[in-house]
Amino acid sequence: MLTKRIIPCLDIKDGRTVKGTNFVNLRDAGDPVELGAIYARQGADELVFLDITATVDERKTLIELVRRVAHVVNIPFTVGGGISSKADVSALLNAGADKVSINSSAVRNPALVDELAQEFGSQCIVVAIDTRFVNGEHIVHTHGGRKPTEIRTLAWAKEIENRGAGEILLTSMDTDGTKAGFAIELTAQISGAANIPVIASGGAGSMEHFVEVFTDGKADAGLAASIFHFKEIEIPALKRYLSNQGIAMRTTD
């Protein structure tokens, strides 16, 4: 049976893992390679590395980091942050990333999704959507969730699927950092409309939140950061809990 996936997200700045609340007030949570390897051993189903600064200078650091991760991690991993061209994607895949995640650059130039899917295959193109509820509507935001667009989230999800995205990483800016639970209704809406997997992100604070997002939220995968980094929830215990709740989980021993 196809399982639901648990995905720790490692936000990277200057080659280190950081995570803040609502994307500000960053705290240091350790070495990304070491952390990634630990998660893989613990039974994480996939890893996501988001380079949250991604200036030109830091690009080389990121590539080197990806190479180090690929040497030790034997599960799929996605790299995102500042990707805006075929050359960026090619460099990351060549360094050993299995998928890349694009966000603002896709909003700026939606044809980029088509180009990347054609060149590298849909399976490795994740489109991240940062969304916020504004005046009664879910609206796509860019630049780490700071800049609103005019695009409705559901329409954008359908568009990127049509353009060849392989997966949607849906982050609710309303729930992110709150630990009050995922945006269940929105996730269910997007996942129900899309025929590609939806990774729900933002708001995980308890094991029960994962149950909700996989059942009512219809998510294919659940992503979280700080609760894993600071060991508030440990992955083996989470997977056992979900499994006992009747949710299909990968067992690893």
């Binding site: 996936r5 599960i75 895949l93 399976q123 392989g166 899309a194 294919d220």
Partner: protein
Amino acid sequence: MKTVIIKYNAGNVQSVMYALDRIGATYLLTDDEAEIRSADKVIFPGVGEASTAMAYLRERGLDRVIPSLKQPVLGTCVGMQLLCRYSEEGDTTCMGVFDVDVRRFPAQPGFKVPHMGWNSLTDLKGPLTEGLPENAYVYFVHSYCADVCPETSAVCNYVRPFSAMLQKDNFYAAQFHAEISGNIGQRILENFLKIDTRN
């Protein structure tokens, strides 16, 4: 031991190379016929579209080389599909090592296509699955699959049962990505490299 990874246009073989690095195996990435023929083990990976990949193999004569190989050959993902008879993807005549066709997953509510993520293997047969428990989980990403047939050596179920692995003589194949399938995938690769080729 000489292990060759066949180099062609269907996708990113980096993950396969890293996986072999992790288990301490050395390898050569090449599309040279003599190098391929002289290898002890041949890995034929693949991510991408079937007809484009087949056209590339034909151009270089690899469509004749690969089915004629005598040493153990492991095809993965699209590599596995190209070893089958025919693929619906791009209406493609493939190399016909395995006597089975590759078809798109039928549309069914509740089942997204591609089939992406970790799914379990059952009905395990053959040397590659040695030491694996029933219901071992491996990582899949694909929209097309081979039916279950007499050459099936592991079954997976998504919409309907399909061939997760195939084996016929010296040809082995896996639909999933063993290279990123955790310890189970690693074991499958080790099992392949361990196959005794002395007759």
